[in-house]
């Protein structure tokens, strides 16, 4: 995590020096979506390579996916309450 933060910080520094070139943010957002695609492809590769995941796709895997859906829903529900009452711009 700290490595990620450090790399982001160096990006911020370089972005700050380049801030007068208005084309830069457009380029980075265009390029980043393709890198996201690449990242997901590589994540897929490592999941396909992982026998622990592939072999347990039935019982244990189904239980894991269910817990993922349930816990994500719990977090989303509470975050909605926080957003609704504390973050949402009032009209």
């Amino acid at each position: 995590m700290f490595c990620v933060l450090l790399i982001m910080l160096s990006g911020i520094l370089i972005g700050y020096f380049l801030r007068h070139f208005r084309i830069i943010p457009l380029i980075t957002s265009k390029v980043s979506i393709y890198i996201i695609y690449l990242l997901l492809f590589v994540m897929g590769l490592s999941v396909g390579n992982n026998p622990q995941v592939i072999h347990h796709f039935g019982g244990l895997g189904a239980l894991g996916i269910t817990i993922a859906v349930v816990s994500t829903a719990g977090s989303v529900a509470l975050s909605w309450v926080v957003y609704r009452y504390l973050f949402k711009p009032h009209k």
Binding site: V4, L5, I7, M8, L9, S10, G11, I12, L13, I14, G15, Y16, L18, I24, P25, T28, S29, V31, S32, I33, I35, I36, L38, L40, F41, V42, M43, G44, L45, S46, V47, G48, N49, Q52, V53, H56, L60, G61, L63, G64, I65, T66, I67, A68, V69, V70, S71, T72, G74, S75, V76, A77, L78, S79, W80, V82, Y83, R84, L86, K88
Partner: protein
């Protein structure tokens, strides 16, 4: 929506190609370098407009702390409720959920603390959480409030899901996502450690 579909297709293509061994061996650290490149680009985007970093802090102040808190409490509550209906014990169910998408760490920790089966469930559960989030970020943002994608992302709101969060929610939410990611990230070993004291 189109992005989510392409993301799903890329992931499926990766799984298919490597499980059919069309792409035989490869270095797992490639993914890490791609992530670094992505974070560098996110950083450049922030650097070009530094006010996107400071203005949400000024605007929301202490309310920002409630975002990771909602994520953690929401997951624990949902897992506790789910434990009533599932074959696992309460402690194991909560511990698996407390990976918050940080699958590498939670799987390793639970492998050691609770055995290989729980470790495997934790791996698949938290990997799924990351994928579910990546695929549903636009939907969550539209129907469940702008904090929902960050809450769903859990610990990954500081790395893999951050670029998509910033694209969907706008720059204003980047700093909230980073703060959220740091807190939830650190809570993973802490909560799992507390559960198995």
């Amino acid at each position: 929506m189109k992005n989510s579909l392409v993301i799903l297709l890329c992931f499926i293509a990766g799984v298919a190609l490597s499980s059919l061994q069309i792409i035989p061996r490869y270095d797992d650290s490639i993914g890490l370098y791609i992530l670094y490149a992505l974070m560098f680009l996110v950083g450049i985007g922030i650097g070009c407009d530094l006010s996107s970093l400071s203005s949400p802090i000024k605007k929301y102040r202490f309310k920002i702390i409630l975002v990771p808190l909602a994520t953690i409490v929401g997951t624990i509550a949902a897992c506790a409720l789910f434990a009533l209906f599932c074959p696992l014990a309460l402690r194991e169910t909560i511990a698996i959920g407390c990976g918050f998408g940080y699958y590498s760490l939670s799987a390793i920790l639970l492998n050691g603390l609770a055995g290989a089966d729980i470790g495997t469930i934790a791996l698949i559960c938290n990997l799924s959480r990351e994928l579910i989030t990546l695929l549903t970020i636009p939907l969550l943002a539209r129907y469940c409030g702008k904090l929902a994608p960050i809450a769903a992302a859990g610990a990954t709101s500081i790395d893999t899901t951050l670029p998509l969060i910033s694209r969907t929610l706008g720059k204003e939410y980047i700093v909230i996502a980073i703060f959220h990611g740091v807190i939830v990230d650190m809570s993973v070993p802490l909560l799992i450690g507390l559960l198995y004291l």
